[in-house]
Amino acid sequence: MKLKVLIPIIAVLLLLAMIVPTVIVTLSQQADGVTPPESEGEGGISISVQGPKIYLTIEALEGFFLGVLANPITQTTVTLLVATVLLITVAYFINRSLKKRPGGFQVVVEKLVNMLYGLVEDTMGKHNLKFAPYIGTIFLSSIVCTLLGTTQVFRSATADLSVTVAWALVTSGMVWYTSIKNFGFKSWLKGFAEPIWLMTPMNIVSEIAQPLSMAFRHFGNVAGGSVLTTLIYAALALVSNLILGWIPGLISSIPFFQTGIPAFLSLYFDLFSGFVQAFVFSLLTMVYVAGANPPPEEYTSPKGDEE
């Protein structure tokens, strides 16, 4: 009964989430786009979507390597640190309270750990169970880094391309390492010339595209969610202004419509999307690594077996 009511509401909200920003952006582009929301009445807003705030800049390094080394401390690093401390603290307390006869909370933890190991076993096979802790780590890190953004105190670390690229490169590194370990370096190199040498550039591109697509997928979903949220906040302020603008005094400057509505959208764009992206990232990691580490009886290299 409740669901029957909720589903149309969510559907309408999602539709709004798609249409309203488009309209607003079009409107704001038409209306010069320079007037800030404070000078209301003109019907235009300016929205700036920015990357993580930089807390520390080393100017001496700004000239090198396109400036990739110039900003060591940003919002993202802070979020990563907080996520690390949070995860380790929680793990520490769980570890301390482990008992042979489990209480309610431990049952949940055990269920989740069992699910993780079950998933890894199903996806990667029993011989790859040693990867389960890493998969769990990347999943939890991703979720915590994404959800920390909903506090509005921190910025989602996964909305920074650097983080997702770093994580995706770890996956690729694992894939390459296991491939070379299982099939040998020569055999691994030969794999690039499969099925014919003409395909070599394509294979190299696909090998590079693998981590990039992982990184951009995760980054795009989380960052896109935050962009949408920003747009919706701006749009709701505008709507509020349009409807209540005629009231004299302070009331007209309070964006009432920003209350409540974004929460539902956040359910989808932050919570659901965050879980889905974390799951997808872990799943892709599992699939790629499992592909490089087949079951022991198939060790006769599937990549280059012409030898």
Partner: protein, 174 residues
């Protein structure tokens, strides 16, 4: 070196910062090591240990059950045979008892016969003794009577042979 602290500068929205990447790697490594040590391995080990214990318990229970069933069937077999065994036992006991009974009766008969025989012998002996006594008394009486009747001086030695002969004839006549 010029440091710029806490100014509202922003990184580009889509861009890569090498420091952030290094930081992400370091954090991932630290989180991985800690979670593996504190969370995944202990919890998994706990689960596995408990599972092993439960499996062991179930196996023990199964073994006990199997053993009990085995014993039960053994006992049932024994009980089903117990009736026959009992009958057999009874039959043997009856036969033995019968034999013993016959033996006892035979013994008793024999003893009774012996007792009767001895009694008869004793009776015979007694009878003889009585007859002898009677003979003596009769002979004495005869002598007395003869002495009284005849009143003569009869010498007992002269007539004793004659009287004895007489009594012996009487005794033989019986």
């Amino acid at each position: 070196m010029n440091w710029q602290l806490f100014e509202a500068n922003f990184e580009s929205f889509v861009g890569v910062n090498l420091w952030t990447m290094l930081f992400a790697w370091a954090n991932l490594l630290i989180v991985y090591l800690f979670l593996r040590k504190l969370l995944f391995n202990p919890v998994k080990k706990m689960i596995d240990t408990r599972q092993g214990e439960i499996d062991g318990l179930y196996q023990d229970a199964q073994e006990s059950k199997d053993k009990a069933n085995e014993l039960l069937s053994e006992y049932e077999e024994k009980i089903s045979h117990a009736g026959e065994e009992c009958e057999e036992l009874l039959r043997t006991a009856q036969r033995k008892a019968q034999l013993r009974e016959e033996e006892i009766i035979k013994d008793a008969n024999a003893q009774a016969a012996r007792v009767v025989k001895r009694a008869q012998e004793e009776v015979e002996l007694e009878k003889k003794r009585a007859i002898n006594e009677v003979k003596n008394e009769v002979s004495q009486m005869a002598l007395d009577i003869a002495g009284a009747v005849i009143e003569r001086d009869i010498k007992p030695a002269d007539h004793e042979a004659f009287i004895d002969d007489f009594i012996k004839n009487i005794g033989d006549g019986q």
